[in-house]
């Protein structure tokens, strides 16, 4: 039985595309308590005893199953620190949907800090989707500081989709990954900040085994007075391939700092970084206006395409 209110339902739709109870394994956390949980024959979810959080254990060989672990906060002034550990068995192929939505109508800050650790077994395949969303008109800030640690064994692969489009006042996202031989990590980050929001996104990926590869790409839009920092470092400690890219649109009085870094400690480490920051080109707006859109609609269309 899931016990959540209307605001929490709306947040769940935003962060996890959940319109009803998800299929498969899930754990829904609402206002620091458990609102619902389901386990399957292959996926177990166990509450931690020493700290707040859960262990998600996926049996080796589990195929085509999903785990949803959304978090929603609808009470002002709530601060929590959660540790979630994922043990993904060898040869499994799973989708994990996480995400946090905060609605803060009050005057006190609401904050959810989560540490996710992924232990990805040999030849396992994981798709991880994480969405962050904030709403509410209160003066209290909506703060999210996610930390993600990824440990990938030989031949495993992980695709991470990280999205934060609206409403989060302050976020520092730190993601670290260590890859063994033949492991592959793909990260697609999309970020939009507005108002006085602050967002830092830090990646540190170590390619430790032969044939390991990483592709970390961020697309972001900074509006109004917001600030963004993208700091991505790939270290090649073996013959490997690494690519990191930051592509940002700057608007209004926003500020963006892009710091791509590469470190090669092996002759056969092939590493590339790209970073581009620029405003929306006037001719893009003009072209869409010749198709009948207003200037504002054209801008919206360009941004939503860019962040798609």
């Amino acid at each position: 039985m899931i016990k959540i209110d209307e605001i929490q339902k709306r947040l769940l739709r935003e962060v996890a595309d959940l319109h009803s109870v998800p299929e498969g394994a899930y754990n829904i956390r609402a206002n620091s308590g458990m609102a619902g949980r389901n386990t399957t024959a292959n996926i177990d979810i166990i509450s931690k005893e020493d700290v707040s959080g859960i262990d998600i254990k996926i049996k080796p060989g589990t195929k085509n199953e999903s785990v949803h672990i959304p978090v929603v906060l609808s009470k002002s002034g709530l601060k929590e620190m959660v540790y979630n550990d994922f043990y993904i068995g060898e040869d499994s192929d799973v989708v994990i949907v996480a995400g946090c939505g905060i609605d803060n109508c009050g005057s006190q800050d609401s904050e959810h800090d989560g540490i996710h650790r992924f232990y990805v077994g040999k030849h396992a395949k994981v798709k991880y989707i994480e969405k962050h969303y904030g709403s509410g008109n209160g003066k209290g800030k909506r703060i999210l500081n996610p930390g993600t640690e990824v440990y990938m064994e030989e031949g495993s692969s992980m695709e991470m989709e990280m999205v934060q489009i609206k409403g989060v006042d302050s976020t520092i996202r730190t993601t670290t990954a260590e890859l063994d031989a033949g492991a592959s990590l793909v990260v697609r980050e999309r970020l939009m900040t507005h108002g006085d929001q602050y967002a830092e996104s830090i990646y540190e990926v170590k390619l430790n085994g032969e044939g390991a590869s990483a592709d970390v790409v961020s697309r972001s839009v900074a509006k109004d007075n917001s600030y963004q920092k993208f700091d991505s470092k790939i270290t090649g400690n073996a013959p490997c391939n690494g690519h990191t890219e930051c592509d940002a649109i700057i608007m209004g009085d926003a500020k963006i700092l892009a710091v791509p870094q590469l470190e090669a400690n092996d002759l056969d480490a092939a590493l590339i970084h790209e970073a581009a920051i620029g405003k929306i080109a006037g001719e893009q707006i003009m072209k869409l206006m010749t198709l009948g859109l207003t200037e504002e609609e054209a801008e919206e269309q360009i941004i939503s395409g860019f962040l798609k």
């Binding site: 001719e283 072209k287 206006m289 010749t290 009948g292 859109l293 360009i302 939503s304």
Partner: protein, 248 residues
């Protein structure tokens, strides 16, 4: 349908003021295929941009179906029925060909319906419909997509600024047919093309020759074209593509 009355467009730079368009008047009637030609730097593209609202005239008046549109925005003119295909199409990261055609058509076209416009300009629709309109497309592909967006709009006046620029010989021959079909379908509409190409001039109802910001000649194709042959205002396609279809 379209009436330009005493249009002038001046620019100022360190050398002083320069007149790009000088007191130009022109009327384009319904159901006409009009090609504007003339030497480079004569003001042809500027004139097209003044009609679409991308540039504002320094003086003069523009009427569309009798209504003064001189001070109307690009958007307003677009929604009144004026389309404009850019000489150098714009690229968009993330926006797909399908998105662009849907925006142009102003409705949520099915992929199959959107594909018709791509097929019309000679693109294998299923290969392109989900492509992003970004740097991965060649100049010629972009140009054809640009023309497809104008077809999808189906407006009363369609303006093409050098549609052949950046297009290979094979596409160029198809392009002529695209314009012919377009004109046949849109009985109330008119097409205005900026071009030097003899083949395009040859399918025109009327030709307007512009030099130094003024109209130096305007009349039916049969009258004007013979005076242009052999000049830079009517370039033969084989001069343009002397080496196996690669544009020089």
């Amino acid at each position: 349908m379209l009436e330009l009355k005493n249009i002038s467009y001046d620019v100022s730079d360190e050398l002083g003021q320069k007149e790009i368009i000088r007191n130009l008047s022109l009327t384009i009637d319904e159901n006409k295929f009009v090609v504007i030609t003339g030497p480079n730097g004569g003001g042809k593209s500027t004139l097209a941009k003044l009609i679409a609202g991308i540039m504002q005239p320094t003086s003069g008046q523009i009427l569309f179906n009798g209504e003064d549109i001189t001070n109307k925005s690009i958007t307003e003119r677009a929604n009144m029925g004026i389309s404009f295909a850019f000489q150098q199409p714009v690229r968009f990261k993330g926006i797909q060909v399908l998105d662009l055609i849907r925006i142009a058509a102003k409705k949520n076209l099915s992929a199959a319906d959107a594909c018709k416009y791509l097929s019309e300009v000679g693109l294998c629709a299923k290969d392109y419909i989900n492509r992003e309109v970004n740097a991965s497309l060649s100049g010629g592909e972009l140009k054809r997509i640009e023309i497809a967006t104008v077809l999808a709009r189906g407006t009363q006046l369609s303006i093409f600024d050098e549609p052949e620029a950046g297009i290979d010989l094979w596409s160029f021959q198809n392009l002529i047919q695209v314009f012919e079909r377009m004109q046949a379908k849109n009985q109330d509409g008119s097409i205005l093309i900026i071009s030097h190409q003899e083949r395009i001039l040859n399918i025109a109802d009327e030709i307007v020759v512009i030099a130094d910001g003024e109209i130096v000649n305007h009349g039916p194709k049969d009258e004007i074209l013979p005076t242009l042959l052999g000049t830079s205002s009517a370039v033969n396609v084989c001069n343009k593509f002397p080496q196996g279809g690669v544009q020089q």
